[in-house]
Symmetry: C2
């Protein structure tokens, strides 16, 4: 295993310590592993909290800040946060207006955030949950009942974050988050497996001439293994899988994310984006916003995911609204 | 070779086509390979142009936009742009106030930008050059007489870009760029070699338990090979190399960049940043600004570079000034 680390056991804490040093505008509790905006709850604003296993940076810690998350609770690498992390995060940001939890659909995450929501409810705090389950590759697979939550999380957190920032009520913030998820579909391909510090070796074996089609963000199996083909052919299959699941009519408008999994150079991601753009144009779909880069990663995995979200009218001003986080920043 | 590509020959053009599709606010000439801000020269503003071999994205194309570069001319992968690209770029952005060229110190780049500057001079255009040569690892090595230009390019382009944007004169923009370079030192380590599409195999062999200490951004040899050690030990040597070359007194203020080479996960970069921050704190140096991420990459190389720039008083407002580029954005 070749990584910049001290020990596998301290990897996450050391990385969080560095994150804390780089972002003094955030408050990072290294003991409980909760990241919040340093100035605490924002009066009159609905809170937005997310979390999940670590190893997907910048998600979620890197999306804490003005216009996006109020707090994140990172679990161990590829491991759900415990309920106590989620309750601490919510308590730290709740201003009395309630809090929306953004939860990616993995069995452990769902269970632990549900438990947290129950505990918080008993304390009299209002909590709504938005479940992200955008990955069309497989159903009921490793770690998941139903579909996995992947790249659409970026869109849900940005758009619901802007909704909360402009003062929308709890039910409105949750509702727009759910509508973004419902309008989004994703599909990922891995060129290489990723290596967790604790395992010290790749999570699965992938021959030099094969790719995993429909891979999950923890290296979960996808639909099939196949020989490496041209980017145009691979991307065409990915876009087909997405649009077979949720067709877009000619004239539709889309927000598209081409997301790197951690080990893929930006030039390859742009190359993939070019293929996506051409395929959507052929179908009469206009891309009205796009993001190309590393947002929902899988440690050092080489690969990418494509997310297509049908842009509803209210999504765009919320996407464009100011955001100031380590991983996404504009307008501020 | 596992990459998202169609053919090795079309890799760069396909990636640029995708970049163009993702960034309609920029103008990308796929024939001549020149990227400019779509609206042409900005009246009354000094132009800022850079370029160099491709494979280092987001550098330089991803730094074209408000507050940073007016144009970039990307050469083939790891190959200098030809003089015609540079002259076309400068002509496209020159508003009559002159243009500053930011050139990384590689023999081919220096020669071709010099030739371009001469041709432009003969046409009556004013051109000043800022040479970036921040890498303390080696002198007079592969592709270079003197020191290589690496991570400090981000700082030079941002700070000189802001100087140009606020209306500084040609000599002032060039001067602040040179002062940033003079105040900056960098050092890089590779965990793995990178693979160019045309070669199809790693540029050098690096055993599973060894790292290249002082590597260049094209995979050029550094100071030595050594066994992989803990991040703390590796980073300590990197910071020593930087501060041995240009010592900082206790009380000094620094801008620090921890830059990923393309194949390194963000969590490792933050871990490295944490080590740098602790080492500088021990020496009494305050980090007043930082950037952690992929800025000056080497295709899919796993590795990182550290850049330390002694922050002079005028650097900070220029670093903080609004910027709106694909690779760096805030305040807009």
């Amino acid at each position: 295993m070749k990584k910049f680390l001290n020990t596998a056991d301290t990897y996450l804490t050391d990385a969080l310590a560095g994150f804390a040093a780089a972002h003094p505008e955030l408050s990072v509790n290294l003991e409980s592993k909760v990241v919040t905006r340093a100035r605490g709850p924002v009066a009159g604003k609905v809170g937005l909290v997310s979390g999940g296993g670590s190893g997907h940076e910048p998600l979620h810690t890197g999306f804490v800040g003005e216009g996006m998350l109020d707090a994140a609770c990172p679990g161990e690498i590829f491991t759900s946060p415990v309920p106590d992390q989620a309750t601490e995060a919510v308590r730290a940001v709740d201003s009395g207006e309630g809090t929306v939890l953004v939860v990616k659909n993995y069995t452990g995450d769902v269970m632990n955030f549900e438990m947290a929501a129950e505990l918080l409810g008993e304390e009299g705090l209002q909590v709504e949950t938005v479940l992200v389950n955008d990955d069309v590759a497989v159903e009921d697979s490793t770690f998941t009942a139903g579909r996995r939550g992947t790249g659409a999380t970026l869109l849900v957190e940005k758009i619901a974050g802007a909704s909360a920032a402009r003062g929308d009520a709890l039910s409105e913030v949750a509702e727009v988050g759910r509508r973004v998820n419902a309008a989004s579909r994703s599909f990922a391909v891995a060129l290489t497996a990723c290596t967790t510090p604790s395992a010290g070796r790749p999570g699965f074996e992938l021959p030099e001439d094969e790719i995993e089609v429909g891979v999950g963000i923890h290296g979960e199996p996808g639909r099939r293994r196949e020989k490496l083909r041209s980017a145009g052919e691979i991307v065409s299959d990915m876009v087909d899988a997405i649009l077979d699941d949720r067709p877009l009519e000619s004239g539709a408008e889309a927000i598209v994310v081409v997301n790197g999994m951690g080990g893929t150079p930006l030039s390859e991601l742009y190359l993939v984006y070019g293929e996506v753009a051409a395929l959507l144009e052929e179908r009469g779909v206009s891309i009205v916003r796009s993001a190309v880069g590393d947002y929902v990663t899988s440690l050092d995995m080489a690969g990418c995911s494509i997310t297509v979200c049908e842009a509803q009218e209210d999504f765009l001003p919320l996407w464009d609204a100011p955001v100031n986080t380590p991983g996404l920043r504009w307008g501020v």
